[in-house]
């Protein structure tokens, strides 16, 4: 990333390049500071929350306390089931919808597409009461399905994939058709592989959104067996009894670790996919 910042176009000589590198590091440090603080407090006992001492004894006690404060193993499982369900459904629904919008002509297409776009303007929270009523009438309150139901289709996903599919050259489509491929086969063999970076980027955005979502899951679920990680983390917000930053930090680190690791693993593809999307 630093290399990208210090690109040869911008830096004409060594001095300005060095300056840019220093600047980049400064910005990165500023950005990372809250995270570094979380790591610091998570691994140290309470007295080092505000006292910095490089040789302060490192402890894992905060993690142990946090882990035992709430059934996190169950919450991890619930979150995992939730995001798997949402992501799988979003990928299928959005792909099919985007394909139809991008490559087929049918009556009312423009109006339908506008209706999809209108959804982008509405905050999901504004529909909470309606969604709850729907979930209740289906008898789904306090289930993982209810948590995912409002998100099974995504206007953003449809829009993003439609734009990507539109950029696929018609020649590729025609070539596949001449080879005798049907519409579904064309979708799976031509469009989906070409949109892979977009799928990865969208998948990460979607997963991190649902990993962090709090209000709707909190409202629609009641029991430990359905609640996700974010609700479990809430147990630590205790303004009446004083806040134990160490334990909160440990819990936050613990629950966001899979996301962080996922991002580190996919970082190259993630950044590249956005850059490529930009070039197009």
């Amino acid at each position: 990333m630093i290399q990208a910042n210090a690109s040869p176009i911008a830096g004409t000589n060594g001095a300005s390049r060095a300056l840019e590198t220093v600047g980049a590091y400064m910005l990165a440090l500023l950005w990372a500071l809250p995270f570094l603080y979380v790591v610091w407090t998570a691994f140290h006992s309470a007295e080092y929350e505000v006292n910095f001492n490089l040789f302060a004894p490192i402890t894992l006690e905060n993690f142990v306390t946090a882990w035992h404060s709430a059934p996190f193993a169950r919450y991890f499982l619930n979150t995992f089931m939730l995001i798997t369900m949402v992501l799988a459904s979003q990928l299928v629904v959005c792909t099919l919808a985007a394909y139809a919008f991008a490559k087929y002509d049918f009556p009312g297409k423009t109006i339908l597409f506008f209706l999809v776009l209108v959804q982008l303007m509405i905050m999901p929270e504004a529909l909470m009461v309606e969604n709850y009523a729907t979930a209740a009438s289906l008898g789904l309150v306090d289930t993982i399905v209810a948590m995912g139901l409002p998100y099974l289709a995504s206007a953003f996903g449809i829009f993003l994939l439609r734009q990507t599919f539109m950029t696929v050259p018609k020649e590729l489509d025609d070539a596949a058709r001449i080879e005798g491929a049907g519409p579904l086969k064309i979708l799976l063999k031509v469009y989906v592989p070409l949109a892979k970076p977009v799928y990865i980027a969208y998948g990460l955005v979607s997963v991190s959104y649902h990993w962090n979502n709090l209000l709707w899951p909190l409202v629609v679920t009641n029991s430990v067996t359905t609640r996700p990680l974010t609700v479990g983390l809430q147990v630590f917000s205790s303004p009446d009894q004083g806040v134990q930053w160490g334990i909160i930090s440990a819990a936050a680190l613990m629950t966001s670790a899979p996301l962080l690791i996922g991002f580190l693993l996919f970082q190259r593809q993630f950044v590249q996919s956005f850059m490529r999307a930009g070039i197009k």
């Binding site: 709850y132 979930a135 209740a136 909190l218 409202v219 303004p239 009446d240 806040v243 134990q244």
Partner: protein, 429 residues
């Protein structure tokens, strides 16, 4: 013949079904609570509910942890509008008007059947019932209630040459004590502030205390009028702001609710105001002897009540409401109210709960727990209005603007008053 037989069989079947339904008629109810105070308190609630279920085998309670206070309110309103409310929920005392306006709670009076029920409800301290009464009805049962207390660091008092056993008794003494207690290092940076009061989360709650000490209220008891721009309120906010800006004995700017006790425990503030709910935590964590007293006065003593009450939902099925009332009566009984107070640090809300053997033994061992009771004669109801979240926002923003020095107290409170009048206009008839 066949028809008759069939008819008889179905009749029999129906009777059988009704009987079995009646015999296994266990009432199941949802109870939302926002005990936003960490693991141990959740366990205390669950333990109490377990004992309730043992005593009432025909009732099953699903205790649902429902997030913070505002989140609990959204969850309850959402579920109520969808026609699936919990039978009972714990929500803040000042949510009463909102809940009445939304028409989602049932008056407690509807459930008072016996003389014993009435005596039970009459047994609460009047101060903790003020925020439950509206329109001649009682809408809530006091549960986890608190008030503000004044804490000081006895070691810091000794170091400053003050008597560690006596805290400041009025505003002038706060200034005098705090001036002595403000400690600077060689380069002039303050290492210990004399006094602190929190100005996030619920700034209006703290201002309410100063205003009461200056002989003023922030609003009336109908929940439709605010008095933000009264000279006494302006003076009260001016005093608060002066501690930081004029006397320079309070950390300037906005002080976070959660870091305020932390500053005290770390020795960066010698005297603080915070909720009585923090007493147990401060006692257990402080590495120095602490002093605790009721709030210092000015024209008079005064402090607001705070905390949450139990509400029974209007649209829950009747048998669930009855069961919920039983649960409320159980949780706020003399014994349990006293036990709840001992275990959590919330204020016991019934006079008789202060007289149980367990409470007497506890007070003997930890006398500071009795300080909040000394404040009972000076308590005022927590400031609450219709559409309370928006009105609160107006006054909270004004307080913070004055504390950071971007507006004068008079100007900020006048603007807040206008805003509140605009919000409350629809309710004023």
């Amino acid at each position: 013949m066949r028809k008759v037989l069939k008819g008889m069989a179905s009749l029999l079947g129906a009777t059988f079904l009704t009987i079995s339904a009646a015999s296994s008629a266990q009432v199941e109810l949802d109870f939302y609570y926002p005990v936003a105070v960490g693991g141990p308190i959740t366990k205390i609630v669950e333990d109490m509910i377990g004992r309730f279920e043992q005593a009432n085998p025909d009732i099953k309670v699903n205790a649902v942890y429902s997030g913070t206070n505002p989140e609990t309110l959204s969850k309850v309103l959402t579920a109520s509008r969808a026609g699936k409310p919990p039978a009972m929920a714990v929500m803040t005392a000042l949510d009463m008007y909102t809940l009445v306006d939304e028409d989602v709670i049932a008056p407690i009076d509807d459930f008072l059947k016996t003389e014993e029920d009435k005596a039970w409800l009459a047994g609460f301290e009047p101060a903790f019932m003020w925020n439950s009464q509206h329109d001649g009805k009682t809408w809530a049962v006091p549960f986890q209630r608190s008030t503000t207390l004044f804490y000081w660091n006895k070691d810091a008092f000794k170091a400053a040459g003050l008597d560690p056993e006596v805290g400041p008794q009025n505003w002038q003494e706060i200034i005098d004590f705090a001036t002595k207690l403000t400690v600077k290092d060689a380069s002039g940076n303050v290492t210990q502030w004399g006094v602190q009061a929190p100005s996030t989360l619920v700034p209006y709650w703290i201002l309410q205390g100063y205003a009461a000490q200056n002989g003023a209220r922030l609003g009336d008891e109908t929940g439709t009028k605010t008095y933000f721009d009264k000279p006494e309120v302006v003076e009260a906010l001016q005093f608060w702001a002066d501690l930081g800006q004029k006397y320079k004995v309070m950390k300037p700017g906005v002080i976070e609710w959660a870091t305020n006790p932390k500053d005290f425990l770390e020795g960066r503030a010698a005297m603080i105001t915070t909720t009585s709910g923090n007493l147990t935590n401060i006692k257990n964590t402080a590495k120095f002897p602490i002093g605790v007293q009721i709030m210092p006065g000015h024209k008079q003593r005064g402090a607001p009540t705070g905390g949450s009450n139990m509400y029974i939902m209007k649209d829950a099925p009747a048998e669930q409401q009855e069961a919920a009332f039983k649960l409320a009566k159980f949780l706020a009984s003399t014994e349990l109210a006293s036990e709840w107070s001992i275990k959590t640090g919330y204020v016991a809300t019934r006079a008789d709960a202060w007289e149980t053997d367990a409470m007497k033994a506890y007070l003997k061992e930890f006398p500071l727990a009795g300080v909040s009771r000394e404040q009972f004669p000076y308590l005022i109801p927590e400031f609450s209005t219709h559409d309370s979240q928006r009105v609160q926002r107006a006054i909270d923003d004004a307080i913070q603007a004055v504390l950071v020095g971007s507006k004068s107290a008079e100007e900020a409170l006048k603007a807040a008053q206008q805003e509140a009048e605009r919000i409350l206009k629809p309710y004023q008839d």
